[in-house]
């Protein structure tokens, strides 16, 4: 019987069978950031333990650092500076790699790691951050863990873990005009709920996935955790190899040939068996937007706010009722045209060069609506530099966007910088939870182009309805 890519990577990394379906899995790369990694490094230090292979551990400052130009270790997050300085001191003491402030390579860990060739096809990779699944897009087995598990991975190079059930989500057909990977993943979660993937390792497959650029694949994989999945993966192909080649930590010369030969054995066998399969017809997907407080609370931009009374399941009905109350929305009202106060383009979901290019194409020659606060935060220093080399920063700034330094920024509110407390926001991020972006902040998740179009119109907008602009 054939094997899935997850099964292949599972057995290739199995150090010992712990019985009861759990295995001790070898971890190739450990990543961390200053929010949760600081505690893991400090925990190891306090226990007098050493990082086993510090050269294979990489940290980024992303969660707490300010994103306003001219930033220092001082941050608007109450108590935030200690997270930065503790991480720096502990990382230096442990001898692990750190992409610190002032380094062009600094940025959001899930953007930096692939950019540097730290994440590669076939590796196991963990990080005390739930969006580690993003890096599964490269054909890596990458998943989020807690700080205590991170200590374990750093000290032992392993994690004890139960083998997940296996699911394949097949995205068939082609994406329509104005429809992106963000819309694919929001649609999946909307159709199959935020707990639809609980207990599963998921492979994203199908012709629509194959057609995605590497950067779009990261966006698709980023929100697998919002689907409840343990993690997700996309089998490597030529798109993957073209992306990985030449990256600083990627294999070179003979090692590249050796690695490539191995990577080509990884895709799931034709007769591999999955415990569950979901098929999505991509040609039916329109630009998506969330209306509620869970990523599953979403619909097409041309849709309406649902009526809780239509929910047959009592749990879902109560969840919708609560969400409408929090979001101050009425059942049956249209989403398109809903006025917004702020717009954010950034986060590990959507802050790569292609995201900024797509948004800039919408913004070029246009102005953000009066009274809309609009902010763009590139995902890494290298993304920012590349965008500036193309003049994208000038387009954003001319349109009325703030252009900032890399970091997680407005994806969550940590007590400092914010988009306006209680304000209605359209955001290219991944979580529309209550109070996530600030107390009472009402978040509508969408793609970067939908965010850009909405910023211009001052309301939720179908990007497909904007008149094309040239020049």
């Amino acid at each position: 019987m054939g094997q899935t890519i997850i099964e292949k990577l599972w057995s290739a990394h199995s150090v010992a069978d712990l019985g009861d379906g759990s295995q001790l899995i070898y971890i190739d790369r450990v990543l961390f950031h200053e929010r949760t990694g600081s505690i893991a490094l400090k925990g190891l230090e306090a226990a007098g333990r050493k990082v086993r292979n510090p050269e294979q551990v990489f940290g980024c400052m992303d969660h707490i650092v300010d994103t306003i130009p001219g930033r220092t270790d001082a941050t608007m997050v109450p108590g935030g500076t200690a997270f930065i300085t503790t991480t720096r001191e502990a990382a230096n003491a442990a001898g692990v790699n750190l992409f610190d402030l002032g380094d062009d390579r600094q940025g959001i860990v899930h953007i930096v790691s692939p950019e540097q060739g730290i994440a590669l096809p076939g590796v196991t990779l963990v990080c005390p951050d739930s969006h580690t699944c993003t890096q599964g897009a490269l054909g890596a087995l990458a998943w989020g863990i807690g700080s205590t598990e991170c200590e374990h991975a750093m000290a032992t190079k392993t994690l004890g873990i139960k083998k997940p059930k296996l699911m394949r989500v097949r995205f068939d057909g082609n994406l329509g005009f104005g429809v992106t990977a963000k819309d694919m993943i929001l649609h999946l979660i909307g159709q199959h709920t935020a707990s639809g993937g609980v207990g599963y390792g998921i492979e994203f497959a199908g012709e629509a996935v194959r057609a995605l650029s590497m950067e779009a694949r990261f966006t698709l994989c980023n929100m697998a955790v919002e689907f409840g999945a343990w993690t997700c993966i996309i089998a490597p192909d030529q798109t993957t190899y073209d992306y990985v080649t030449g990256r600083p930590y990627a294999p070179k010369d003979h090692a590249w040939d050796q690695a490539l030969t191995y990577w080509q054995t990884l895709p799931s066998d034709d007769d591999a068996i999955f415990d569950k399969e979901i098929v999505i017809n991509c040609s039916a997907i329109v630009p998506q937007v969330t209306w509620g407080t869970s990523p599953q609370h979403e619909t097409g931009i041309d849709g309406i706010v649902p009526d809780p009374a239509d929910e047959t399941d009592v749990n879902q009905r109560q969840s919708v009722e609560r969400a409408l109350e929090y979001m101050e929305l009425k059942a049956g009202s249209r989403l398109e045209g809903l006025p917004i106060d702020s717009a954010f383009i950034g986060s590990c979901t959507n802050s790569r060069l292609s995201d900024l290019r797509d948004a800039a194409a919408v913004l070029k020659g246009r102005k953000v609506a009066a009274n809309v606060l609009a902010i763009c935060v590139p995902g890494s220093g290298l993304v920012k530099k590349a965008a500036e080399a193309e003049g994208l920063d000038k387009i954003f700034i001319a349109a009325g966007f703030e252009w900032r330094e890399p970091g997680c920024s407005m994806c969550f509110y940590a007590g400092g910088d914010n988009l306006g407390l209680g304000k209605r926001t359209v955001s290219s991020t991944n979580r529309n939870f209550e109070n996530r972006q600030g107390p009472r902040t009402k978040t509508h998740l969408a793609s970067p182009t939908t965010v850009a179009a909405s910023a211009i119109k001052g309301c939720l907008t179908d990007v497909r309805t904007l008149e094309p602009k040239h020049g």
Binding site: S22, D129, V198, E226, S319
Partner: protein
């Protein structure tokens, strides 16, 4: 870590689905590079009337007597979804929660619980709703009993449910084990794996 054996306690029903870790402990409440000092910020967006304030919202379940003394939390599917922040578990533990009963959990949250002495029990949604209804009739009298060794939950109706937990998670909780120390028993295997793997995948070893 404290060992989990048996527990009989008041249970607090918080029957919402998809309770995320941002709700359990907002990022703004994580003020120190520490596992301590988080209990006060538990559910702060729901528990207090205004953001940043400590004025209790009298309607929130954990502010109501006798639920203030609950050591068991009953909740809906996908409890602890979202952010990996272990602070959510540290906050629950510091506040006094020792066990959670829900139909399913966020994967990282579940692992975090086991590593911090909180027992995450999976029971069917319908049974949890029944337990919640019984508890609400008389929360002080209608307590719930958990036995980790037997993997049982006994409701106020004296009906017993059994739950599943992996052997390693069971041991971690019942013995209060240090997972790193347990894994280091496999140190030889880890080093042998590395030696073999270095030949097979040399590009991994930077």
């Amino acid at each position: 870590m404290d060992k989990f054996t048996t527990l009989t306690s008041i249970a607090a029903p918080l029957l919402r689905i998809n309770v995320d870790t941002d709700a359990i402990i907002p990022s703004r409440e994580m003020k120190l590079v520490s596992k301590q000092g988080l209990g006060d910020g538990l559910f702060s967006s729901w528990r207090y009337t205004e953001p940043g304030s400590r004025n209790e919202n009298p309607d929130f379940i954990l502010n109501r007597s006798p639920y203030r003394h609950a050591q068991i939390l009953l909740s809906g599917a996908n409890f602890g979804c979202g952010s990996s922040r272990e602070h959510a578990v540290w906050a629950l533990a510091e506040w006094g929660i020792s066990a959670i009963i829900a139909p399913s959990y966020g994967a990282i949250f579940y692992s975090n619980c086991v590593r911090n002495g909180i027992l995450p029990i999976i029971l069917p949604d319908e049974r949890i709703k029944t337990l919640a209804a019984l508890v609400e009739e008389d929360p002080q009298q209608n307590q719930i009993s958990i036995d980790l060794n037997k993997c049982t939950v006994i409701g106020p109706d004296k009906l017993t449910d059994t739950f599943n937990i992996t052997q390693s998670d069971h041991e971690m909780l019942s013995e209060g084990l240090d997972a790193i120390a347990v894994t280091m028993k496999y140190d030889d295997e880890i080093l042998k794996f590395q030696a073999r793997d270095r030949l097979k995948r040399p590009w991994i070893y930077l």
